[in-house]
Amino acid sequence: MANTRRVVITGMGIVSPLGNTVETFGLNLMQGVSGIKRLETDFSDQLEINIAASADFDGTQHFSKKELTVLDRVSQFALYATQQALDNAGLDADSIATDKTGCYLGTGMGGAASTEEGYHRLFKEGQSRLKPFTVLMAMNNAAASHIAMHYGLGGPNLTYTTACSSSAIAIGEASRQIAYGHCDYMLAGGSEALLTYGTIKAWEALRTLAKVDEQNPAASCKPFSADRSGLVLGEGCAMFVLESYDSAMARGTTIHAEIAGYGTANDASHITQPSVAGQARAMQAALDNAGLAPEQIDYINAHGTGTPLNDATETAAIKQVFGPHAYQLAVSSTKSMHGHLMGAAGAVELVATTLALQAQLLPPTMHLQQPDPECDLHYVANHATPEQVRYAMSNSFAFGGTGGVIILKKS
């Protein structure tokens, strides 16, 4: 990236099915712990596919009653993870309350629970009035707006919604605000809280959800395995603090990783079916942006949803971009453990990728037991594997066709 500033990650925060601190998430991730479980809700018995990767998060423990009247679960996640990220970056309130700090956030469904609660009151309970805060809780940009209000961030504040790549796009675009010198700090990431009856039913109807592994529901998501049957919905959030390399050095803060490149492209072909060419274009765009040759990438944290079509397509796209090196680099899908966090997937997986670079330890693709001829790369299967990694790529692809690919460099 000539004539631009180097962009680094100095803070991370998380709410996830694998824990609500980066440390817990990392430990569970590297030990192959699955956050996928039977859903225990009042609508569980009405679901055909009764599993999900929910986050163990109780908003009443973290927010006042007044705050909760206007904060959907998706915004609660975002505020909680942002505070962690700021603490982790060693930034106090005064240093970021400026017009040179912005927030870019990705989400697919925004305040899904608030939308659903509104419909429930109207159509199910037959009431004629909705809570005054319904719009403000449901709107997709609520989470990013609350972050700006809470911390006094006067810089750019944008919400990206490109389905499953939303947060990869948000982080990638945020990195450009730093690279081009528009902002001093960017808070970027994604949040998703869509484990509601209506949303799960809508996903059931798409027939992309994994069948429940009756022996072991936690093992229901099996990316790249011949017996994979689909994705498992998850919820959570990850937020990052991005700043320039010079800024981080001047502050003397720990650099977790450098954002070496970012690329995005659209399949421009089908609303759900992924395209090899489209995915390859997004990966190539990230390589070009980073000024790297394919051979320099050591590890890919794949989109790896666990659907029959995605994993085969992504494998083919990796081969198209990387040629013979595709078989040398390591690939894993951590969705086997934390599920598919939709609009937050790219952010949570970028935490996983950052931890892999820091620990020089690759997180596993769990439940990969049956080789598939269509998925024949060097997958990190079932156990975390120590590996020397300098550059790692995190892939996010999506319904609607927008791919977002971020390349990290070990710091």
Partner: protein
């Protein structure tokens, strides 16, 4: 009516998680930390409590007593629905 004020005071105290005794009829809503949307939220809860429907208020709602007066006025106008509720 004192009961209406008492109910509004309870709703506000619960929402703000503060001691009821700190809220007087003359307490200004914004001083308590309630903006116009928060006030609508309190009125929304009061609608449920009293079984009435509150149209967008014409007069300025400034104090806790203003909220109570608004509700009292509607309670008189919409008495039948109150009885239904009971």
């Amino acid at each position: 009516m004192e009961n209406t004020f008492e109910t509004v005071r309870t709703l506000i105290a619960e929402k703000l998680e503060i001691d009821k005794s700190t809220i007087t009829p003359d307490s200004v809503l914004t001083d308590l930390g309630l903006d116009s949307l928060d006030t609508f939220d309190i009125i929304f809860e009061a609608e449920d409590t009293f079984g009435i429907k509150v149209p967008t208020p014409k007069e300025e709602i400034k104090t806790v007593q203003d909220v109570a007066n608004l509700l009292d006025q509607l309670l008189q106008e919409q008495a039948p629905s109150l009885q239904v509720q009971k």
